[in-house]
């Protein structure tokens, strides 16, 4: 497509928050017909970059954005982006599960102007069917989106984006749109992406699944600490276009530095496990087995977040196991509810703080909810409760240290500390944490890691379920990698680095080149 303006040309964009620059003079070009990958570790600036393209962030002065022939003001408005042919599919896909495919197609952006246009149901369904057929899909438009497999939902979202009535598509941005896909199920989606590119659309593909990136992209931009640190092209040959090159570029020299304070976690191998999981099966898990020792911080990570997350919920009685054995200190353990798990000494902090906390309740009420016993259940000594909470807030350095404050008004890091101290004060035997530092700033992160190490040093067994591999590598003594519902790899000691984890998460044979069909 030489001679045509590139689908996307962003130049010289910088952005800082609170005086911290998270994006330094970044430029990015996506050609017509090109699938361009954007990769980087957490905090590398991927989402800032995408949000700059999508008009959510205004860059700090300077910088220019061109979509196809159109030069857009920064920040670009949704209407201007639409008119220039930019389409976005984000991680949540923006589909309504309770509506049919055809109905979802009528919900596309730009519809409002035609909202009262007369179209019969049959016409809508025909139009939808035609749009699906253009990409070789023959789903019934009346199917509810919620009844589709995750990969089919991604297909629907992508087709909806690139075939909408608002005009020709120049640029398609897929922002972690494939991150919810089961491991074996990405093929059809990747084929669709190639097909879209073959129509002359530039595709910006943001993903942490490097196998997919290598499989589907023509070129890749690597971000680290807000800088563009690498640009790879698939035509460069396998020594350059490889997982090793990508991970080295993503993590830089930092990856080789040995993670700190891990020595404390080295446990004698002959300690009896506190928790033993054998052959566990669930909605995702097909055969998961592992041991968790007293005082150990064990990481559990997987390409598909839901896989690892399910293990945590099963251990806390919030999801049902379909088979397998769990033993807790030698006794059979099969919690029927979170309450039962709590009595057995298992604690759990959910990934979302909307679930791990009651945001409209006060800090005290949240902190003591899991165990009101010390304050009396028939007569709650509110003064003692408040004093105990105050002490915990001081110990864990929660800011502001105000027991009466509504939890929802605290910052992410402080909320997470409250969620943690709720359970640590119950003195559990096993603590399961799902994404313990999601949306937590760097200082609070360090504080939380310290709290966890201290607790582990006291003998607490911690299971950290995390999709942030840097986090898993930093905090855990040992990390298990889940692929296809089973434990596929284990890393510990010096071998446990973000780089090695990233490679373990991308089993080599999966990234065969996808070509347009």
């Amino acid at each position: 497509m030489a001679g045509q303006a590139p689908a996307l040309a962003l130049t010289g964009a910088s952005k800082s928050f609170n005086g911290r620059t998270v994006m330094h003079d970044v430029s990015l070009t996506v050609g017509r017909g090109e699938v361009h990958g954007l990769v980087g570790a957490n905090g590398a600036g991927k989402s800032t970059l995408i949000k700059t393209v999508s008009g959510f962030h205004a860059p700090d002065g300077g910088g220019s954005l061109r979509i196809g022939e159109a030069t857009l003001p920064l920040p670009a408005g949704p209407g201007a982006l639409m008119a220039a042919g930019a389409r976005f599919v984000h991680q949540d896909l923006g589909l309504m599960p309770s509506l049919s495919i055809a109905e979802n197609f009528t919900l596309e952006p730009g519809l409002s102007a035609r909202a009262f246009g007369l179209k019969t149901r049959g016409q809508e369904e025909d139009a939808c069917r035609a749009r699906l057929r253009r990409f070789g899909l023959d789903h019934d438009p009346r199917t509810l989106v919620g009844d589709l497999a995750v990969s089919e939902q991604v297909l629907v979202a992508v087709v909806r984006a690139v075939t909408d009535a608002a005009g020709a598509t120049t640029l398609l941005v897929l922002d972690e749109a494939t991150s919810g896909l089961p491991w074996n199920d990405a093929g059809t989606v990747l084929e669709l992406i190639r097909r879209t590119a073959a129509d002359g659309v530039g595709v910006l593909f943001v993903s942490h699944r490097l196998d997919e990136v290598l499989g589907v992209c023509d070129s890749v931009t690597v971000l680290r600490d807000g800088h563009v640190v690498g640009a790879l092209r698939s035509t460069e040959g396998s020594s350059q276009w490889s997982l090793e090159r990508l991970t080295a570029s993503m993590f830089g020299a930092a990856a080789t530095a040995s993670p700190t304070a891990k020595a404390a976690g080295a446990r004698p191998a002959d300690t009896a496990p506190r928790l033993r999981v054998a052959g566990l099966r669930g909605a995702y898990a097909t055969d998961v087995s592992f041991d968790l020792a007293p005082g150990e911080i064990l990481g559990l990570t997987g390409v598909v977040e839901a896989e690892a997350g399910e293990i945590g919920r099963i251990l806390f009685g919030a999801a049902r196991a379909r088979g397998g054995e769990i033993t807790l200190e030698g006794e059979r353990y099969r919690p029927r509810s979170p309450r039962a798990a709590k009595s057995a000494g298992v604690a759990y902090v959910a990934a979302s703080r909307d679930l791990s906390l009651l945001k409209s309740l006060s800090v005290t009420e949240n902190a003591t909810l899991a165990d009101l016993g010390p304050f009396g259940s028939a007569y709650l000594r509110r003064g003692a409760e408040r004093a105990a909470t105050q002490e915990l807030l001081d110990r864990f350095q929660v800011s502001p240290p105000d027991p009466g404050r509504v939890v929802g008004t605290l910052s992410g890091g402080n909320q997470q500390k409250v969620a943690l101290l709720r359970w640590l004060r119950t003195d559990p035997r096993v603590l399961v944490l799902h994404e313990p530092c999601r949306g937590v700033d760097i200082n609070a992160r360090a504080a939380i890691y310290r709290i966890l190490r201290d607790a582990a040093a006291q003998g607490l067994s911690v299971l950290v379920i995390s999709s942030e591999i840097e986090e898993a590598a930093e905090i855990c003594d040992r990390v298990l990698v889940l692929v296809d519902g089973r434990v596929d790899g284990e890393l510990s000691g010096a071998a446990l680095t973000p780089e090695s984890l990233m490679q373990a998460l991308n089993p080599g044979d999966a990234h065969a080149r996808i070509t347009a069909s």
Binding site: F17, N18, G19, V22, N42, G43, G45, S47, F316, A318, S337, P338, R339, A341, K342, S343, Y348, A350, D354, L355, S356, L357, L358, K359, S360, L361, S362, E365, L369, A370, L372, S377, A378, Y379, L380, R382, D394, Q397, S399, P400, P401, D402, G404, R405, V406, T409, L410, S411, G412, G413, N414, R422, R438, G439, V440, D441, N443, A444, A446, A447
Partner: protein, 363 residues
């Protein structure tokens, strides 16, 4: 996150960084401002009382007037207390008024019509109130019917049964003297039903504030899934609050029977909307906008004082429902608007200090 203190403060004690101290002082300022808006409805109540006392000193500013207002509102108050229990856990009970009717009718029918022993009849009738609550709980918690729908349905069934049992008549006979005394008697110059209502208020305030059960109720209402993940037995809590609601509504029915001296299918339903309105109006006085007993009481008296005063000034009787509805809408709207202004002010403060709370972390 409207007002998060944006920067983590790793150490406390030493001279705090400016942002950290802002977080703390903002907390205090928020609370003062919050208390201000929470006290606005009680302030309006006091202003109304003073105003009517000045305008109608010979009729309004009398003990008899005060005691009549109080006596007339106690059944409503107890029905509001019955409603507030499910509301706190996040459920509606729209059957409270109908439960009050049917218990009053059953009491009169069993004693006056069928010659039951009054004590036995009263115990049975109160158990029936609780049993209706249990039926609601079964539908809502056991089967999963939306409580709005389930209790609307049971309420309608109760209307039918009430008509059937009373044969569409007003029952006057067989009302135990004790009930009449409790409902309409006086202790000195104080209506006895005020003392009865105070006992209910005390019991429910104790339950909500000083028991683990009450805490679990607020937690369940704050987020059922989150409460469950903290080990709260949310299903039992929801079920128990519906059963308690039925029981308390049944008590209110008997008290109404004692107050007006008759039972019919129409005595209860008219309480439902004012009771719910009082609970919601009461949230404007609750900590963090919660359902609470104190606010509910103030709300009931705000309406009663306003309506009585206006009537004494010569307002026609259609004013009552208008005043009722307007007070609810205005109080809740004003509270929401003042909250929005408050959070906008906080946001502005965050922007001034260069802190962007939602963007502090790059994910």
């Amino acid at each position: 996150m409207p007002e998060s203190p944006p920067v983590e403060k790793p150490t406390r004690g030493a001279i705090p960084p400016t942002s950290g101290s802002r977080g703390r002082t903002a907390g205090i300022a928020d609370r003062v401002r919050g208390a201000g808006s929470r006290l606005s409805v009680p302030a309006v109540l006091i202003i109304l009382i003073v105003l009517f006392c000045l305008l109608r000193p010979e009729t309004f500013a009398t003990w008899d007037n005060a005691s009549t207002i109080a006596q007339n509102e106690m059944v409503l108050l107890i029905i509001a207390l019955a409603s507030i229990l499910p509301l706190i856990v996040g459920e509606f009970d729209l059957s409270v008024g109908y439960i009050a009717s049917i218990t009053a009718i059953l009491e009169a029918k069993l004693i006056g019509g069928d010659g039951w022993d009054p004590v036995l009849a009263t115990v049975v009738v109160l158990l029936i109130g609780a049993a209706i609550g249990a039926a609601n709980a079964f539908l809502v918690v056991g089967i999963g019917v939306n409580s709005f729908i389930a209790t609307l349905g049971t309420g309608s069934i109760l209307v039918g049964f009430s008509s059937y049992i009373s044969n569409n008549k007003t029952l006057f006979e067989g009302i135990p003297q004790v009930l009449t005394k409790l409902g309409s008697g006086h202790f000195g110059r104080v209506p006895i039903n005020v003392l009865v209502a105070l006992a209910f208020v005390a019991a429910i305030v104790y339950l909500l504030r000083y028991t683990a059960f009450g805490r679990y109720m607020y937690a369940t209402g704050g987020g059922r899934d989150s409460a469950r993940l903290a080990g709260v037995p949310t299903e039992s809590i929801r079920a128990a609050s519906l059963v308690a609601s039925g029981f308390v509504a049944g008590c209110a029915g008997l008290l109404e029977l004692g107050l007006i001296g008759s039972a019919s299918a129409s005595i209860g339903p008219e309480f439902l909307l004012p009771a719910l309105a009082a609970c919601f109006l009461g949230t404007t006085m609750g900590e963090n906008g919660r359902f609470n007993v104190f606010g509910t009481i103030v709300a009931i008296f705000l309406i009663a004082v306003g309506v009585t005063g206006l009537e004494q000034l010569g307002a026609p009787n259609w004013v009552e429902p208008v005043f009722n509805g307007a007070a609810l809408i205005i109080a809740v709207s004003v509270t929401l608007i003042s909250k929005r202004i408050g959070s906008a002010r906080n946001l502005a403060a965050d922007t001034r200090t260069g802190q962007s709370p939602t963007e502090e972390i790059e994910k």
